[in-house]
Symmetry: C2
């Protein structure tokens, strides 16, 4: 059995968190200097394990085994959200590295090829899940041409040039070379912690439906315009947010979530009635029928709000992810490994967050493993996980990888 | 009687709108190149009328009559809101210039000294009513040291240096040199238009009470955090906005107005539950008792919202303007002139907007005249007024100025 090196794992996780260190977390936006430094460091580590390392045209880092056999991809994304946690993404990336090294060092496993990978821009600084989408051939040059940074407006092309990736080819998946894909991630919620579980075996990944909703009112002077004749786009936005808070619980599924992440009023001055309000709104569920129901209710509420406030409204759906189910045999492999190392402290659960695994799953058998987030905190620099859970998760994933690769071994070669 | 030159008035208004022209309006923020160009142009015009012109240390432009007699200040502010109307401020400034010139050219009026003035930053790009407050001695160097631009964060000191005003002294009011202050302004609302009036005789200027309200929730992942455990600061902000919309009409006066001009959610990303929400909120009324009542209700609603949402709340009052009453004799002078030129198309009314006149009124007898805004539109580049009303307003103000100055003439010199 592959036995991971706990000390080395923790040490590499902490080393990786130095790239863009911010308080107890990291600020490592995609293609920033810190992000590219971290990717080059990874490539060196892959080489040191005896893999052939390369960084492709969107920044994905691959460690390719020097083997004719089909390998198992293991990884996650290397960049972080802004001023966010040290484990979100990095965990799965360093697990991939540690498992590749453990297998290389374990005589019994040396013939089982592990291909660690670090995807680019899962967090969507430019394009959500850019790296994994590029890998499965789901993005074209035109989309790359159009993309800009959501925070500062730099184009993706400029960012790639600045990162030294202009002209570097993007690596495309050759499905016959891989057995499948495993990704470990922190849970980013409190379900594991609240039920005293240490390993989550992910059954499915929710679909995320996202919207830009714009209300147009009449911009006017906030002192001289009588209340009776106002068409205040900001009031419309607040009214819609409250209507959603009232109606969604009546039609949502038990695990549905919805969020207004941004409200922008224009022009945004204290003495001017907002003439325009824009909301970024999203909801998530693992059932397609629930997503469709929430979509219908949202459109109804937007229309009602427009009528009530006298504002005009536009609603544009900007993301329509389908719920995605994980490979059953891979789930079993993870569950069996969890049972071995964590006794009964594991549970099957859906993922409320989107992950690269949902993209890769469109082309390869895929599965995910979660470990707990302390206090359920994520997307914040205080995000953290107990060292014991960090180590346990990696060992469970290593065991799962062994099971999956042995099941793939040509007949007659298996132990 | 002074007879203004209608063609010259309109031509100068249009010339002035070329400084920072934007669509059919202007973009002339305080101390921008366009703003300073317009101030230097004004100083030249003042000189051409035979006045002694100077620009003081905060950009106020004064045209001082070469006369021993007490003069009448007439003006308004020269800068604009961002991408806003061509008449807001500029109207009163160009009226002052036209009336000074008319009086100089009218033999019967040549001895009645008009002192045109153009204040700086009434619009508060740095400090609301900076110029008039500086003139009456209501601002100290420490406040100037602290001030920064609300849009781009440049400090006021840097802006003054860039405008060539570093080290230039600020002119301080010597009250004994002036009879009083007149200011003309577009109404910026639709009360005149809706009642087919052409002149508003301002009775009082509302008090503006302004607040920064901050809710602190818990920033977390928008996919993995169950609805039941969320503390969403954005939901708190929307809830407060709706509570205000419900409760304020029950306690407001007939002319009270209230506005949420800005809502900022942090971090403002689609997949992150906002951990912080900031609202800029203000209300206005001409009665102190109403202002106090609205303040009490607002604080109640903020507290209720915090309790309901589990967020913590801070409320900071950033502006507490007192309602200000205009000089009764000056009001009569304007009303009589309006009756002469506009028959019954005038009305006494409070000002819902703040104006430099409320600052100057603390030290000098002051009054204001309004002309209609087409469609009530203001603080937007489509703001406009009929030419006939532009001309009428200036003639009424000229007549009012004559009456006020003749009432001040030493006994024995009056006609």
């Amino acid at each position: 059995m592959p036995k991971i090196n706990a000390e080395r794992l923790l040490s590499n996780l902490r080393r990786f968190a130095q790239f863009g260190a911010y308080k107890t977390g990291v600020h490592r936006p995609t293609y920033s200097r810190e992000d590219m430094d971290s990717r080059r460091w990874l490539a060196q580590q892959y080489e040191a394990v005896g893999l052939q390392a390369h960084i492709d045209g969107v920044g994905n880092v691959f460690g390719t085994p020097r083997s004719d056999r089909r390998s198992l991809l293991i990884g996650s994304h290397a960049e972080s959200q802004n001023y966010a946690g040290w484990l979100d993404g990095a965990l799965g990336v360093i697990y991939g590295l540690e498992i590749a090294r453990t297998f290389a060092e374990t005589p019994d496993c040396a013939g089982l090829p592990i291909a660690p990978v670090a995807w680019a821009d899962e967090e969507g600084h430019y394009v959500s899940m850019l790296g994994s989408r590029s890998f499965i051939g789901d993005i074209d040059e035109a989309e790359i041409d159009r993309a800009v940074n959501v925070d500062h407006g730099l184009t993706l092309r400029e960012a790639l040039r600045g990162a030294g990736l202009a002209g570097v080819p993007r690596s495309l998946l050759e499905p016959e070379r891989y057995v499948g894909y495993l990704e470990a991630h922190i849970e980013q919620g409190d379900a594991l912690e609240a039920s005293s579980k240490r390993i989550g075996v992910v059954t499915s990944i929710v679909g995320i439906w996202q919207y830009s909703i714009v209300f147009h009112g009449i911009q006017n002077h906030a002192g001289t315009t009588r209340m009776a004749i106002r068409k205040d786009a900001g009031v419309a936005a607040a009214m819609l947010a409250m209507a959603i808070a009232r109606r969604f619980p009546q039609v949502a599924g038990p695990r549905s979530v919805w969020t207004t992440g941004r409200i922008s009023l224009e022009p945004g001055a204290p003495s001017i009635i907002p003439g325009k309000a824009e909301m970024l709104f999203q909801f998530r569920d693992s059932e397609m029928s629930v997503l469709q129901q929430l979509d219908a209710v949202l459109r109804e509420l937007v229309e009602e709000t427009a009528i009530t406030t006298g504002c005009s409204a536009e609603i544009e759906q900007t993301e329509t992810g389908k719920p995605c189910h994980m490979d059953p045999a891979f789930q079993n492999a993870i569950e069996n490994a969890a049972a071995r190392h964590a006794h009964d402290a594991y549970v099957r659960m859906p993922s409320g967050a989107g992950h690269d695994a949902q993209v890769v799953a469109r082309k390869l058998r895929s599965a995910m493993l979660f470990i707990p987030s302390i206090g359920g905190i994520s997307h914040h620099w205080t995000e953290n996980t107990d060292d014991a859970d960090l180590v346990l998760g990696c060992q469970v994933l290593a065991d799962s990888a062994e099971t999956i690769l042995r099941d793939e071994e040509p007949p007659g070669l298996s132990g």
